[in-house]
Symmetry: C2
Subunit: 391 residues, 2 copies
């Protein structure tokens, strides 16, 4: 199989109440990706798009077909992927294969979502459709419910007192806002304090508002190219060195393993093995911090800390620039925002920027980063892992 590189990216500002449709946001991000890749729309041979709720939020399904037409990628294959919050990462992994196999040389992948116009109550209900709707939603398992349960399980299983765990979780959110305020594309650009986090209103005990990422509108896109083509178009190709994907089904199928998510451990092992690297080789990571506890669980599953010790990373500052493993230097889902169908493409765009050294002017560059990891969770059971690297 051929090497595949990301050669350009596009990213709208993430926000509440965008006045643009999901199609318009996706067109903006896609055209930015195309322009930054020094190609034209007609050079794009196929389009791979993540979108979760377009039919619910705007009455528009099959957004990828209209997007391709709107931006002048005429008559190309246009495919939509749905893996809940991991939809765009799923689209990118798939796009990778069509280039790696030699079938296409240049493709566009990305995602878009406009979720905030529904309002918080309906959005929470609607997102829950991507958990198990037969048994688990009726039992109260919205996603805040799932992660609240995981927080209690984590505290109990590893013997971390809830008070201490909550403080570590607060440090996750605080750090995300520290970096998010430096990211011009982020939804929130303000610092938050320990006091603010611990006094924010209770969503689902023990998760408070500042433990939870927001609902967001936004889009992101990338251009993938074969190595030969990439080298002609850029002197900074960022290669996709490893990919992994796994699913665990409903949360009750995972009960013996929780709060660990088995799908993550399987997916990231696939990606590490394919790239020939391990957790110690990762210079920068974007992981799926839909809730503050999710960051701690993810950091452990990805191999950055022993199980039960993930919170120490944030407490000791190891997740900051200069630390052992810089995590979510974009602001993460918590501060940058979480337009669910776009999130994976946003994570990839962030890692590409880090590996290209493009973030110095924003004051959040991880110096000399060569290898980055993207981790995206879809619903409570699908994990995507991507490893990107520069030579």
């Amino acid at each position: 199989m051929r090497r595949v590189a990301v050669i350009g990216t596009g990213h709208t500002k993430f926000m509440f109440n965008s006045t643009k449709t999901s199609m318009e946001m996706l067109a903006e991000a896609s055209m930015d990706a195309i322009l930054s890749s020094k190609i034209k729309p007609r050079d794009v041979q196929a389009v791979y798009i993540g979108n979760v709720l377009g039919d619910f939020s705007e009455g528009q399904g099959m957004v990828q077909s209209f997007l391709a037409d709107d931006i002048g990628c005429l008559n190309v294959p246009a495919t939509r992927f749905e893996g809940a919050c991991a939809s765009a990462t799923m689209a990118i992994r798939d796009a990778f294969m069509w280039v790696a196999s030699g079938f296409y040389d240049i493709v566009l992948a990305g995602g878009t979502e406009r979720a905030t116009a529904m309002g918080t109550a309906l959005a929470t209900r609607t997102f829950a459709m991507f958990g198990d709707s037969r048994y688990e939603f009726p039992a109260g398992f919205t996603f805040p419910g799932v992660f609240a349960m995981l927080t209690h399980l984590y505290s109990h299983k590893y013997g971390v007192p809830l008070k201490k765990l909550k403080e570590q979780m607060a440090m996750v959110s605080i750090q995300s806002h520290q970096y998010g305020m430096k990211n011009p594309k982020a939804q929130f650009q303000k610092e938050i304090t320990m006091e603010q986090v611990l006094n924010s209103f209770m969503v689902t005990s023990p998760l408070q508002l500042q433990d939870c990422c927001p609902f967001s509108d936004g889009a992101a896109a990338i251009i993938l190219a074969s190595e030969d083509v990439a080298k002609k178009l850029t002197d900074k190709p960022v290669y996709i060195a490893g990919v992994g994907q796994s699913s665990s089904g409903k949360i009750s199928s995972q009960y013996k393993y929780l709060p660990r998510l088995r799908a993550r451990e399987i997916a990231v092992k696939q990606a590490y093995d394919m790239a020939g690297v391990g957790p110690g080789d990762i210079d920068v990571c974007e992981l799926h911090d839909c809730f503050s506890i999710a960051s701690i669980i993810a950091a452990e599953g990805l191999g950055f800390a022993e199980f039960g010790k993930g919170g120490d990373l944030w407490e000791k500052g190891e997740t900051k620039i200069g630390g052992k493993i810089p995590i979510n230097i974009s602001g993460g889902l918590k501060s940058k925002g979480h337009p669910i169908g776009a999130t994976g493409a946003s994570q990839v765009a962030e890692i590409v920027a880090q590996l290209r050294g493009d973030l110095v002017s924003q004051g959040r560059q991880v110096d000399g980063a060569k290898i980055g990891l993207v981790d995206t969770l879809g619903g409570d059971g699908i994990i995507l892992s991507l490893i990107l690297k520069v030579d």
Copy 2:
């Protein structure tokens, strides 16, 4: 790239008002595909599923992840595809690539839909989300509206009087029911007459009820394997010899080309070129007869008749067994049914059965069929083409 074969299929009965959920139907079809392939669920390395309306019709998104868990394909990558009515064909084309590239040896692909419980009015409104919702749905372009317009355009452009065209369209529906009554999986098992068709109630002038396929519930699945694996498991591998996919965007972007669908002509050329065959080599075809006029338009776009002459194929009996190009010997969407997310997998399962010679006992075998074509239309702008063959 490696050759890829279909080694087993599964297919629920298509029907109104299934008492099973889309997940249960998909599990049934998937387990039948697995058992008929002489493999076990743990042999399946990845799952590719088409589903369009699970969130709307049952409040269940991300059906592929729960399906994989339910049938014992534990922790595999499970991906959902949405390309409206072509979703399952899209899933199969994608699954093909992951095996052809050498990444996987055995994968499951399929689709499922439970649309009838919504009722006809809501289903029609909901399906229309897969057309353009910004300008075209508000202008009246539900899918019956689109194909009614295409009927008028066809009559005008090719100078076929509407009365004659309507009779030819009726012949399409009549033939579909003649074969559907022999298909135990079909939704309708009854013949219809010219008089019944032309006296059925007007849906969207000039389309009457018997010009329109039904809403349906059902699922279908197939197992794909690399050539080496396929030859160990079956003495009748059916190879995927060519694949094609193209999109045209909204209907107004296509206005200069209509009633021809440019995406079809591009997609099927890709498939023909890849397989090294042409229209004259196809022994049996399943095409997307969502409306009777759609069959005529499709037969021309696939190269089986000159433009403006497609209806003659049905009038002269050339589309029956023994004719020049047997079409929709399954009963097609009109008689077999159209559970939208499952339709492409059902078409593939039918062609596989024809190429294996499995339909003698049902009295609808195309003798000696070696090469088959699948054509699926998603919304009014995505086309998938697959060519299957036996050695």
